[in-house]
């Protein structure tokens, strides 16, 4: 029987289970135990958000490692080890820190398989936090997954539910390609749903139809799936039925599921918390404009933040994040469009 647990717990559980299952899985990152060399508790933190708590006591320091603050070395260690017989899960504490280690991801891990003629496998997972909502300001609130989705050779996972988070993380560890696993920090506790205790994998490249509806398709990512859900609730009261598609992985992207839905509804709104330029909303809107043009009965609307850094002040941050209200408005404009 399934239990209702938080995404926080689901990720923690997935890590426990993959480590139990496979002795070649190791974890490394800054303070993922939290206390290396310090006089007190060695597992004092369990990650800066507590997600990896309890793993070091269970699996030992040889498999769960705190590291110095050296992101290139952390990621490089994980990537190099992945080509050498391990299945490392590295933590990049916030995706905002990718700027000091991106080379190891985009020029190394992402390219080995292709550049070496198919002879390399790099089964590495990089877990990282994304998203605004905690007033953590411009350098701790970004999404940035479009930057990773742009790079061929890395798979990008953006779970929106506890169930998906567990199953996708298990799949990520079993996958033979580099996977970036984006965890929206607000969802850790905001989201709770049914999660089986046993191990299961959610395949990559298969979207989840979160809600069915015939009037308008909403494609939404990570936390935006829930904002879209709120909007759909409100719209249902107005007689507008939205279909919500959660891609779950943005690379590979389940283009078929998106196009199928658009073919049926004839209308598309894409919701993305990432900066608006060259983001997933644009990517998916372009897909529809290219492949489902004949079905489209209204402009494809995108709901993204403004093209600005993430502001600190709570009211500005709230205005920055796409809201259910803005999504509902976009749907209303789409449904009300008259050529």
């Amino acid at each position: 029987m399934a239990r209702v647990i938080s995404m926080r717990k689901a990720i923690n559980e997935a890590l426990f289970q993959v480590m139990e299952e496979d002795p070649t899985v190791i974890l490394l990152g800054e303070d993922i135990a939290g206390g290396e060399g310090s006089p007190g508790d060695d597992d004092a933190w369990g990650g800066d958000m507590g997600i990896t708590k309890g793993l070091q006591p269970r699996f030992g320091k040889e498999r769960v490692m705190d590291t110095p603050i050296s992101e290139s070395a952390i990621i490089g260690t994980a990537v190099g080890a992945a080509t050498s017989g391990l299945r490392p899960v590295a933590e990049l504490m916030f995706v905002d820190f990718m700027g000091v280690c991106f080379d190891q991801i985009m020029n190394q891990a992402a390219k080995f398989r292709y550049m070496f003629g198919g002879k390399a496998r790099t089964p590495v997972v990089i877990r990282t936090q994304i998203g605004a909502g905690y007033n953590a300001a411009a350098q701790h609130s970004q999404c940035l997954y479009p930057v990773f989705a742009h790079i061929p050779g890395i798979k990008c996972v953006v779970p929106s539910s506890a169930y998906d988070a567990k199953g996708l993380l298990i799949q990520a560890v079993r996958d033979d390609d580099p996977v970036i696993f984006f965890e929206h920090k607000v969802l850790y506790d905001e989201v709770r749903d049914d999660v089986p205790e046993e191990m299961y994998a959610v395949p990559f490249g298969e979207a989840n139809i979160v809600r069915e509806g015939s009037d308008c398709t909403i494609v939404a990512i990570a936390r935006m799936v829930h904002k879209a859900g709120e909007a759909a609730e409100a719209l249902a009261g107005e007689g507008v039925e939205c279909e919500i598609v959660d891609p779950r992985t943005i690379s590979p992207l389940d283009e078929d599921a998106i196009l199928e839905s658009v073919e049926q509804t004839g209308r598309l709104v894409v919701v993305d918390e990432a900066y608006p330029r060259c983001n997933m909303a644009a990517d998916i809107a372009a897909l529809a404009a290219r492949e489902a043009f004949g079905a489209l009965r209204a402009p494809v609307r995108t709901v993204s933040p403004p093209h600005t850094p993430v502001p600190f002040a709570p009211e500005l941050e709230a205005a920055f994040i796409p809201s259910a209200g803005k999504i509902a408005d976009a749907v209303r404009r789409t449904v009300g469009y008259a050529a």
């Binding site: 800054e30 303070d31 939290g34 206390g35 290396e36 060399g37 310090s38 006089p39 007190g40 508790d41 060695d42 004092a44 933190w45 800066d48 705190d66 110095p68 603050i69 050296s70 992101e71 290139s72 070395a73 905002d96 820190f97 700027g99 000091v100 905690y134 007033n135 953590a136 300001a137 411009a138 350098q139 701790h140 403004p306 093209h307 600005t308 850094p309 502001p311 600190f312 002040a313 709570p314 009211e315 500005l316 205005a319 920055f320």
Partner: protein
């Protein structure tokens, strides 16, 4: 330790240094209270206990000299002369904050005071300090730059390469490593492979010195020498400041990685304000009454600031999209 140049400071300069340290301490203690009371949003890292470093270094600098700070930036900002009320308002996210409420605790900055910003990225500051130093060198202003980095940040590649770069160009820059023993929960004795950070100076062709960060005079004298060297074209210096923080890594940290009683002992025996007071009164340079007056004065200032910040105006919606690019 070098012979007490700091002890030869004028009465005014000593009082100023004390005031600055006291202001930082009170600021942080009050931020702690306000945060606990749920009045402050965001991530907050307190500098209490480390005041002698910021003030010991910045007492050699004027507004034209520049510093780059860290996530733990309140102390550096105050020591560098940032407006305390503006900082309070910034922490509240007010439009009257030093950054209009858009930066918050981790991004306090005031370039007009030479404060180039707290930084949410560990290792983000050192490369930027090179730039300030390069500008000083190119424009021949005689100014210097200082980058404050933690023990944890000392292990970041950007920090290392900045030291080599600074040396190669003989830039007027100080690399001040504030070794408070921990990076979050991780010990510096473990993460710094060579033991003391000062041992890295030779690898970057620069002089290095280690100082007692609980003692203003120890920091002051080492920084003075390094600033002089920098101003006169002698290039960069590494200074390792050793001490401990009075609070957790950030607000909310339960600190179970620390030894029992560690913080109590620090507060009791290693409080830089108490040590300063003892040294200057024992040497007859200042008296308790004068220092008490500063304490009272700062307490009053802090009351006014906290009140002003709570009542300060909020940003308007148009601020959301302002100041991304220059408008022409």
């Amino acid at each position: 330790m070098t012979a007490g140049r700091g002890m030869q400071l004028s009465r005014e300069r000593l009082l100023e240094a004390y005031r600055s340290m006291r202001t930082i301490r009170d600021f942080e203690e009050r931020v702690h209270e306000e945060f606990e009371a749920g009045n402050l949003p965001g991530f907050v890292h307190l500098y209490a206990g480390e005041e002698a470093s910021a003030v010991g270094v910045c007492s050699h600098l004027d507004d034209g000299d520049r510093i780059c700070s860290t996530h733990r930036g309140h102390g550096h900002s105050i020591a560098k002369g940032c407006d305390v009320e503006g900082m309070w308002k910034e922490l509240h996210g007010s439009s009257e904050g030093l950054c209009g409420g858009k930066g918050g605790s981790m991004h306090v900055a005031d370039l007009s005071k030479g404060m180039m910003g707290a930084n949410g990225i560990v290792g983000g500051g050192p490369p930027l300090a090179l730039g300030a130093a390069m500008a000083a060198k190119t424009l021949k202003t005689g100014k210097v730059a200082v980058t404050f980095t933690g023990d944890g940040g000392s292990n970041q590649g950007t920090t290392f390469e900045s030291m080599n770069f600074a040396s190669v160009f003989r830039l007027p820059v100080l690399f001040v490593f504030e070794n408070n023993g921990y990076a979050e929960a991780t010990s510096s004795s473990w993460s710094v492979a060579c033991g003391d950070i000062v041992n890295r100076a030779p690898a970057f062709g620069m002089p290095g010195t280690q100082v007692d960060g609980f003692d203003f005079f120890s920091v002051h004298d080492a920084a003075g020498e390094a600033v002089e060297r920098a101003r006169s074209g002698g290039g960069p210096t590494l200074i390792e400041v050793r001490f401990g923080r009075f609070y957790g890594h950030h607000e909310g940290d339960n600190q179970s990685y620390r030894a029992a009683g560690e913080v109590d002992a620090l507060r009791r025996d290693r409080d830089c304000l108490k040590i300063f007071r003892r040294r200057v009164t024992e040497a007859g340079l200042l008296d308790d009454a004068g220092l008490d007056a500063v304490d009272a004065d700062v307490a009053g200032l802090m009351d006014r600031c906290v009140e002003a910040a709570r009542a300060a105006p909020r940003p308007t919606p148009d601020q959301l999209t302002a100041d991304v690019y220059v408008s022409y």
